[in-house]
């Protein structure tokens, strides 16, 4: 089995190296990736979308459907994780009828260590550092959302930072106290905020322009366009952060 794996890896490596060898050297300005639609976005993007960050423009305007379904994908992942039965494993090891009884016993011993490890008190250094840094991390996440159209950043980045902050807090203060940050009734709606706001903005765009997820093009509607984009970014950031936090909370063994 091991040698089969190594052979498979070498065959895959040879195939990919052969494919990569034909590509233009990366960084050459006249490579196909810089000539076709990418060049057009860079040329007309600011005028057409009013955004300075072209990655955000591609994400929310030119390829808005892609991002819509991307938000739906991570929401679906949360639904799938939440649909699995919780706490089903309490009587689990008793059901193991394994011929190799010794290894099964060893793994259940290792399993018994798990909950005790969670009770080990957190080091005061970690406790202090997380408490000290938490507000700054939160401000960084907000800034990355608020300044996302002119600096690197945006909704997804902000969601990742918020989610990481939540996980750090949950590890230091315990899951129960961290879970109180987002009460259950709010959680139910906030976890669906991304798809819901996307659908709302898409419908508004449909009413205004006749195209699903369309943006009004004339210069007078600049404020409307801005509001639509900000709504999408907030939906992605808040919804994504809550989904990441929920996924972490659902991983309880």
């Amino acid at each position: 089995m091991r040698w089969l794996g190594i052979a498979l890896v070498f065959v895959a490596a040879a195939t990919m190296i052969a494919g990569v060898a034909d590509l233009p050297v990366h960084g050459t300005p006249d490579a196909p990736i810089h000539r076709h639609v990418g060049a057009r976005y860079l040329e007309h993007g600011v005028a057409e979308t009013g955004m300075r960050n072209m990655v955000t423009a591609v994400l929310l305007v030119y390829r808005g459907f892609d991002t819509f379904l991307e938000v739906v994908v991570i929401f679906t992942a949360l639904v799938a994780v939440l649909a699995l039965p919780r706490g089903a494993g309490k009587a689990g090891p008793a059901r193991v009828v394994s011929p190799s009884g010794s290894t099964a016993a060893a793994t259940s011993d290792a399993d018994a260590v798990g909950p005790q490890q969670a009770d080990v008190p957190v080091s005061p250094v970690v406790f202090f550092v997380v408490r000290l840094l938490a507000p700054f991390i939160a401000i960084f996440a907000l800034a990355s959302l608020y300044r996302g159209h002119i600096t690197p950043g945006g909704g997804f980045q902000s969601a990742a930072i918020f989610g990481a902050l939540f996980i750090a807090l949950a590890l230091v203060f315990g899951r129960e106290r961290a879970a109180r940050l987002v009460p259950v009734p709010a959680r139910v709606w906030l976890q669906a905020l991304g798809p819901v706001l996307f659908a709302l903005v898409a419908f508004v765009g449909w009413c205004l322009t006749g195209a699903f997820l369309g943006y009004p093009a004339d210069a007078a509607a600049h404020a409307v366009r801005e509001a639509m984009v900000v709504t999408l970014e907030v939906g992605i950031a808040v919804g994504g952060a809550v989904i990441l936090a929920q996924l972490f909370m659902a991983m309880e063994g």
């Binding site: 590509l23 990366h26 990655v55 494993g89």
Partner: protein
Amino acid sequence: MVLFGLDLDYAACVVLFCLGLYMLVAKSNLIKKVLGLNVMETAVFAFIVTAGMVEGGDPPILVAGTSPPYASPIPHAMVLTGIVVAVSVTAVALALIVQIHAHYGTIEVDELKELP
């Protein structure tokens, strides 16, 4: 950097991808398989982003003080999509592994195969 007609940055991505592939097929621990999958995904993202950069270029954020050439914005948007999908796959896989461990007490594939 090009060596023997091969772009070394692309070749590095291929090597990283193959490391992940080996982890995926050769390891019996399910967590390690998921880690291998993540390494493969990272290799693909690195490859796509590398393809979008341009020599001496600025990031595609068209504010004062930047000038052409700009890196292509499309690979960045694509990779953002890919990262979200990777996170979703990892989350569902880990949740299933938790379930497997709860039901059978092991996450080693060769031990799971021996179960009746």
